[in-house]
Symmetry: C2
Subunit: 130 residues, 2 copies
DNA sequence: TCTTGACTTAGAGTCCACTCCAACAATTAT
DNA sequence: ATAATTGTTGGAGTGGACTCTAAGTCAAGA
């Protein structure tokens, strides 16, 4: 699979795909005899994982470290487990923060909906007059 | 309340507090006669809101626009409601993405726990041998 | 009064995660 | 065969969100 096809399938730019490989966020991709990238199934799995992690906001650095650990073999299993658990903690905290903000947003939106209908804000416990 | 006290109370640097004000992410803060910031209750509410939004990962730009709309008065209520709903959509999508990544992470972690105990991976449906 | 520490601004610097560019090589279409 | 497209690299540029520095002002204690 060419870089362009991968780019289209995963809605990610070819520049970003090359960047991920260059910095080690995914292992080196399979190449044709003439040096052109030809993503195989496993390469795609790595791409998918990288995109998933980045979409959740995890740092590129963490993926680079994970890939590095994978490449040194079985002796790094404990370290890899530790890394994954750390990133899970980060995501759980991030989700908690999002939920907190969503609650605040929902309250503000409800006040604004009343304001939009009635022309003025109700008895508003909301911060700074909403 | 001085900038330093606010900085300590909200675990945010004084530089960031000044930056938020400078770019318009919060309205101008109350000052003493000699020009020194003296955050009052309402100023603090704005700081709190700004921090909450940023912690959830919402862009500074969105808060700037919200503050701008608030400052032009009641005619912007509809626009403010629209902005808040947009940001809520962003957060819901972000949370969905985090949940997806958490699921993947949890599966990988479970495989690694087995591997760490037994010394090798179980029949692994996980991508790239975990 | 003097020193110490906290405050002010404007502007420069940093870090992250891309994103773009130049110059060239390989493949595909006509 | 040639033109267009897609690929390659190394390196420079960008945008977002801070973070730091310089040069100076203000306030509280000895």
């Amino acid at each position: 699979m060419t870089i362009k096809q991968v780019s289209e399938q995963y809605h990610i730019s070819v520049d970003t795909l090359r960047y991920y490989e260059r910095v080690g966020m995914i292992p080196p991709v399979t190449r044709t005899a003439s040096g052109i990238r030809d993503y195989n199934k496993e390469d795609l799995k790595w791409v998918e994982l990288a995109i998933c992690m980045r979409n959740a906001g995890l740092p590129v650095e963490a993926m680079i470290e994970y890939v590095r650990l994978c490449r040194i073999g079985d002796t790094s299993i404990g370290d890899r487990l530790h890394l994954l658990e750390e990133q899970r903690t980060v995501l759980l905290e991030q989700r908690r923060q999002i939920d907190e903000t969503l609650e605040r947003l929902n309250y503000k939106i409800s006040q604004y909906e009343i304001a939009a209908r009635t022309g003025k804000f109700p008895e508003c416990r909301c911060c700074h007059k909403c």
